[in-house]
Symmetry: C2
Subunit: 323 residues, 2 copies
């Protein structure tokens, strides 16, 4: 039975396409019926389930961590890319490109146990606020997508996150924020090693890339972690292109959707993020039958934290929040 | 509520320890209560959920496949390790050691798509019979362990397989045979690549090891695939040692169990298999509070295929099956 809990979705082609797909795959005896174990849906995270501007939030975590750790590393003040971060010199930082980013990631993500990393990320999420919206990052998840996750699960889908973000970073909040348990979160990873220290077994995080879960990596990771081709995929960028292609390349009913960021007032408007283009996926969407969601027109609420009634009562506050 | 569907388990210390553990972790308000999302149990496969003698079944698949493919590879008849397999010369084969085994695995597991491999394995499982028991391999699963998987799930556990066996090999039968869906099967893997061939996206299996899921690899894989420390672990060999150590090294109620193969009449008796020792784990078990199951004394039925009444009615047939 299809139950519609998609209150933040305006009535329109995007919402109707979701309802229609779920109706078809759950109708027993119908030609598009899909047995429960095959109802797998995969979601990108950055830009699809939560905001990714002005910079993917895990990148903001890296910058904050470098600054927090700087007193223990006096050598960093003369050493790029650390110097650029400490001095908030984004130009030098950008000049370092991907190698600089990797160096910063390893300095903040490795050299500790998995449990320690979990605690560090949870602390950061509990205490940090977004530079524009002044909200905890985990409140900057898209309310319509949270509703969509729950709607699919209510119709016996298993929902997975398949993101370029760090797998252990996302797992610190995915269950509470999205209702997605750790074992249904797939992401990029660094090498982890099993060690017994003073009789206590630990998993040590090592400063080496294990897997980069973006572009071609997404279908590979879906195969490795899920082991079955999903029937629905949700993304927003070119990094999701192959995932949507893989999912919709299967036989039987398939669904793919891209979130399009063109609401500069309530969120951000962009066709290129810090981590990649969005254009190939958006251009290919109509040819391939992928649905494009207009955040401006299809969603009556963007963020989970927003209280629409309060915003209506206090337009000045609303405007300042949305500056 | 604890429901006991463990009909193939004799009443004894092993069965009682399982019932006691499940009772404790599911009793709300009790000091050992474990919330549902943390009820994760991990199971080795070879020698724990199904038979692994005279050779792990995936190894028998490799040998059968080499012989099936030999007509397409005339060069193999003069080339080790293929020559040894074709001529059933197990001595030459053993002399080749691990490099020979890896060569045979790659020749039978790579160079095809994931879908093609899935079909090949399913065909083999449907048509092959065990050399001693003359049964399909998927009927040589341990009935008490199948009951245990179902019992744990009935008490809101998520059950995962964490095996040195090939992840895609196991996924061909895990759902039907064990009730464990593909995304809850963790195993060894080879590298897979995403390609688009004539407009059709495929996952090509490449002749390179990706991950070996045994010994130290098991806690690492648990962390990667499950992202949470299980509270119960089931194994049979030294390859499971670190998994049991990792699981029982956590705080709160923990459970670990080893299946001990000492029933030469109904199954096999061994302390060393083709792929490794069992002795370290068995020796450490009492010190660490791990339960050791005697297949002879604790299980009144071994295999899922056995019909106990029929065996009682026809002792001659029974003896011949168990030669």
């Amino acid at each position: 039975m299809v139950r519609d809990g998609l209150a933040s979705w305006n009535d329109g082609a995007a919402k109707r396409s979701i309802l229609d797909f779920v109706q078809r795959v759950t109708t027993e005896g119908g030609k598009d019926f899909v047995p429960v174990p095959e109802r797998i849906a995969v979601f990108d995270n950055d830009g699809t389930l939560w905001c990714e501007q002005p910079f993917p939030f895990q990148g903001l975590f890296v910058l904050d961590r470098i600054r927090a750790l700087a007193p223990q590393h006096p050598e960093w003040k003369d050493q790029q890319p650390f110097k650029g971060v400490i001095e908030n010199d984004m130009k030098s930082l950008a000049a370092g490109g991907m190698p600089a980013l990797v160096e910063l990631v390893m300095a903040t993500h490795a050299g500790m146990t998995s449990e320690e990393f979990d605690g560090i990320v949870k602390d950061w999420l509990a205490t940090s606020r977004h530079p524009k919206f002044n909200q905890p990052y985990t409140d900057l998840v898209y309310q319509p997508m949270v509703e969509l996750l729950a709607f699919l699960r209510a119709n016996d889908f298993e929902t997975f996150i398949v993101s370029g973000g760090g797998i252990e970073f996302m797992r610190t909040f995915s269950e509470k924020t999205y209702g997605v348990p750790p074992h249904q979160v797939v992401g990029s990873s660094i090498v982890t090693k099993y060690e017994v220290l003073d009789g206590k077994p630990v998993l040590m995080r090592d400063a080496k890339l294990d897997f980069y879960d973006d572009h071609d990596g997404k279908p590979v990771a879906i195969n490795k972690f899920i082991g079955r081709r999903p029937i629905a995929a949700f993304g927003n960028s070119d990094g999701d292109f192959q995932m949507l292609e893989w999912v919709t390349g299967g036989s039987g009913p398939r669904f793919a959707l891209l979130v399009h960021h063109e609401d500069a007032v309530r969120e951000f408007a962009y066709n290129r993020s810090a981590v990649g283009n969005l254009e190939q996926a958006l251009q290919e969407a109509p040819k391939r039958g992928w649905i494009v969601v207009s955040m401006k027109n299809d969603w009556n609420q963007i963020f989970a934290y927003e209280d629409k009634e309060a915003l209506q009562r206090e337009p000045e506050l609303s405007a300042s929040v949305r500056s």
